[in-house]
Amino acid sequence: MSKSSEQPKISNLNDLLAVAYQIENDAVERYKVLADQMDAHNNTELVKIFRDLARAEEIHGEEIRRLAGDFDVVSHARQIARFGRVGSPEEAEIDDAHYLMTPWHALQLSLAGEERALAYFTRIVETAKDPRVKALAEELVEEEAEHVNLVHRLLRRYPKPSESWADDPDPPASQE
């Protein structure tokens, strides 16, 4: 489905702060959902990873709130930061979750989210007319690029699992 046209309109610095905050907040919520899914299926290693990822995004959101000073970035985000059909850039793809997924899979989801966020802020740098918006977007690009690098570093610790990672001796799909 075409998803390209729906993005929040960023006219000034406060809009960008609100959108950046919302992007982090959406990522937090998504990681929490994924952690709960893994909890329900007793995949404890993944519960911890998704909760850690949620906490990391939460810290980024708090940093943006601090950066916004007295401006109520949370309320403004609720008003303008709607991504429509496109979805929030940093949200992990929930439909790629699997009850036997491994840390490598979790980090792949995270990497894809960070790369989408990086591309999103890069587009703002390229199109922004307001120099203050452009300057903040450049900072955000730097941060997202660092997050992409961080996930790549983490992936060194968790190599790609074997092709049989989803094999289950007692599978739920009894029809096969």
């Binding site: 329900a40 699997h98 997924m101 009894s174 029809q175």
Partner: protein
């Protein structure tokens, strides 16, 4: 939509219960739950003014995951329960949740008459074309060529067309959504709730366990190429030729909702019960 006239400032998370969903990871129903809470927040509805009624099946677990009033009812009977609730408590916003087995097979007859009666409520059917909870039997919307150990060589039975049936039976609002686009689904749900009368929203919600092929739906769905219509004839032609992947509001009718008077005859329940005393 009946109920509150004042909007409450709520976040989607405010409508979630403490209970964690036990759907399979990757299930489309997680997205539907997100869409419910986002739609409620968008409308600013107080959770105590919402009732979510369901039948049986994976999708019907959804009331427990909201902090609204909920009723996890009998298989296929969610619409009957919800109709009774809405008639006696018109102040509530009533949402009915179902799946393609619960809603179109076991509850198929209730579906026809709920459309016909046009009571002001919103019926959301999470369609994954399979009975997931009972491990993969074909449902009324399963394709005839669905070939498994339970249906060797396919079912050979033409699928049910819920949107066509809804239109022919009198539903006042008909839409189709895709679970993988939760913001868009939330917007359509909010519209369905706002619209007076019986609103029917089919949500394509993949079953990743028994229908992994449905992961492809993400690439198959598309926004409906023609705008919504209030003309039943146009809607019928469109829905009859629809391939099942057009997303959006497809029909918006203007029939006044049915709201029978309650207690108008002045008869107390205790008086009625006297006739049945042994």
């Amino acid at each position: 939509m009946s109920g509150p006239t004042t909007r409450h400032a709520c976040k989607p998370g405010d409508y979630k219960s403490e209970l964690k969903p036990i759907w399979c990871p990757g299930c489309g129903d997680y997205h539907v739950l997100m869409s419910f809470t986002r739609a409620f927040a968008q409308l600013g509805l107080p959770s105590e003014n919402i009732a979510v009624v369901s039948g049986i099946g994976c999708s019907s677990r959804i009331p427990a995951y909201t902090n609204c009033y909920g009723f996890h009812g009998v298989h296929g009977r969610s619409l009957a329960l919800a109709a009774g609730l809405k008639v006696t408590r018109p102040d509530l916003t009533v949402i009915v949740a179902s799946g393609d087995g619960d809603g179109y097979s076991i509850g198929g007859n209730h579906f026809l008459h709920a459309c016909r009666r046009n009571i002001d409520m919103t019926y959301v059917v999470m369609d994954n074309r399979i009975y997931g909870m009972t491990k993969g039997q074909p449902s009324p919307t399963t394709e005839p060529e669905f070939d498994t150990a339970l249906t060797p060589g396919g079912t050979g039975v033409a699928p049910f067309h819920p949107l066509v049936v809804a239109l022919a039976s009198g539903a006042n609002f008909i839409a189709r959504c895709f679970s993988g686009a939760p913001n868009e689904t939330a917007d359509i749900l909010a519209e369905a709730i706002r619209h007076p009368g019986f609103s029917f929203v089919e949500v394509l919600s993949p079953c990743v366990t028994f229908r992994p092929d449905e992961k492809d739906w993400k690439e198959m769905v598309r926004p409906a190429s023609v705008p919504e219509t209030s003309d039943q004839g146009k809607a019928a032609r469109r829905l009859m030729t629809d391939d099942g992947f057009n997303i959006g509001i497809l029909y918006r009718g203007h029939r006044p909702p049915l709201q029978p008077a309650i207690g108008g005859a002045g008869v107390e329940l205790s008086e009625l019960e006297k006739d049945f005393e042994l």
